[in-house]
Amino acid sequence: MNQFALEITDLKKTYDNDVVALKGINLTVQEGDFFALLGPNGAGKSSTIGIIASLVTKTAGKVRIFNIDTDENFPEAKRLLGVVSQEINFNNFEKVIDIVTTQAGFYGIPLKEAMEKTEITLKRLGLWEKRNDQARILSGGFKRRLMIAKALIHEPKLLILDEPTAGVDIELRREMWDFLKEINENGTTIILTTHYLEEAEQLCKNIAIIDHGELIENTSMKDLLRRLDVQGFLLDIDQSLDNPPSIDNFQISLEDSNTLNVAIKKDQSINQLFDQLSVQGINVSSMRNESNRLEEMFIEMVKKN
């Protein structure tokens, strides 16, 4: 039976300015999981990650990484943990190769071995050609890759990524997704925070949503998506309308004169809608999701909370 990669018990954090960031979080992440930790800005995601990574001091609670209590043996726990922070956290004036080799040294890896590991890691992340460049001249995307290279250099069993694809173009984001999927399939447990809910939906098996310092949801991605009752669709129509058409059992509104916004329940057939529109002489030229499915649910949950 798999053990827990991460166990958080009654984790609390109050900052010096009396801001209560965490009100007693309980969370477990199974070994091998690809786990999404979501929440709006200021919800407590970065505080949680900061405490796990020892960048933030906790007010109360317990954190165990692969069954190692961080209060009892943090160095051992840190050896199993890799962290990709939200903000760039390397010296921009150092060379790429030096940044990664030095990080390996901080984990006690001898220089020769560190050089070998650095070469492998930089090649994996497509950074080897840029190894002698100063970090400051790298593009935003390559800086993100460098952050990941640093976090992976000591081959952690648990990798935490705090918004790793923020500000990264779509192509690179997809490349990073493939890379993260690959290392997860090879056994690394991954915890991801992101604002791109599509990213969480694509990558993660399990999900927790945090808001106002409390966990408001902790379930599997499948279960969460199963709960979606209504999906919104935008239908582009050939003609201009002043009022939305009236069709029994369907909620329809006008997005603009050429676009219908339709809410379709899980048990409703979209064919029925098309038939009814056709009867009224309305031709649909194209159709798209109103927004990401998970986004709708996320907004609803946060609003409720």
Binding site: Y15, G50, A53, S54, L55, V56, T57, F74, P75, E76, K78, R79, L81, V83, S85, E87, I88, N89, F90, N91, N92, F93, D98, T102, Q103, G105, F106, Y107, G108, I109, P110, L111, K150
Partner: protein, 259 residues
């Protein structure tokens, strides 16, 4: 690999990184002290010095050499650690250290060693520069000289570390060197012996910690001093111990480093 070896490797990595940092910007770190001290030697040593005559029975330029070396060591050890540690805080690259299994004492030793190596290197550079102006200079007590050089650079590196921990802006890392260190150094017997001062100023000068550092070093280099050497060495060691404990407590509590 044993935990001890692992810590040793991480410590060596940090020291190497710190040394590479100041060597990479050598034009900002190593050249200015050599230029400034050359000017001191030209103006105060060669031009004004002969008019002053002797100080404590020595040529004025000869008397000045240990003081100027010490001044460079103090300011550079302090400046290295305060700027380096504040920079890693400012750039957030301190997270590279905090997420690693390195113990806090190794982080402290790594940064202090950066300051110590730079302080000693600058001391050697200034000594070499002084030989252009006073080629016959010979060191009376090399062991004491090296010991004081080492202890002084440790002491002021630790002070720089504490300054950096509390610093919230670049202004904060220049206030102490400008308004505290520099006046104390200038009034600490670098350019004169306190024996030439009136009694009241001599007594006030005895409260200046720089006086003990400069005079102990002068005792090592020239064999003359205005203070008791055992007392001065004890005080330096005591302050190193106090500051080391303070630095470790601050790091363990996460003051200035962890939120």
């Amino acid at each position: 690999m044993s935990r001890k070896n692992e810590i040793l490797i991480s410590l060596i990595t940090l020291i190497r990184k710190e040394i590479k940092r100041y060597l990479r910007i050598w034009i900002q770190t190593l050249v200015p002290p050599a230029v400034t001290m050359s000017l001191y030697f030209v103006i105060f040593g060669s031009l004004i010095g002969p008019r002053i005559g002797s100080m404590d029975g020595l040529d004025y330029i000869q008397f000045m050499i240990p003081g100027l070396i010490m001044m460079s060591v103090i300011t550079n050890s302090y400046a290295n650690v305060v700027s380096s540690f504040y920079s890693v805080k400012f750039q957030k690259s301190i997270e590279e250290l905090l997420v690693s299994p390195m113990p806090n004492w190794a982080i402290l030793v790594g940064f202090v060693m950066g300051g110590v190596t730079r302080g000693i290197l600058i001391g050697c550079i200034v000594f070499c520069v002084s030989l252009f102006f006073y080629p016959t200079f010979s060191i009376v007590n090399p062991m004491l000289t090296i010991l004081v050089l080492l202890l002084t650079s440790i002491l002021f590196s630790l002070m720089g570390f504490i300054n950096a921990i509390f610093a919230d802006s670049f202004d904060d890392i220049s206030i102490i060197p400008t308004f505290v260190l520099t006046p104390l150094i200038y009034l600490g017997g670098v350019f004169y012996s306190i024996n030439i001062l009136p009694d009241i100023w001599r007594n006030i000068s005895m409260a200046n910690p720089m006086l003990y550092v400069v005079n102990t070093f002068r005792e090592g280099m020239l064999g003359v001093s205005d203070v008791s050497i055992p007392f001065a060495l004890s005080m330096i060691l005591l302050f190193i111990a106090i500051l080391s404990v303070a630095c470790l407590l601050l790091l363990n509590k996460g003051v200035g480093t962890r939120q």
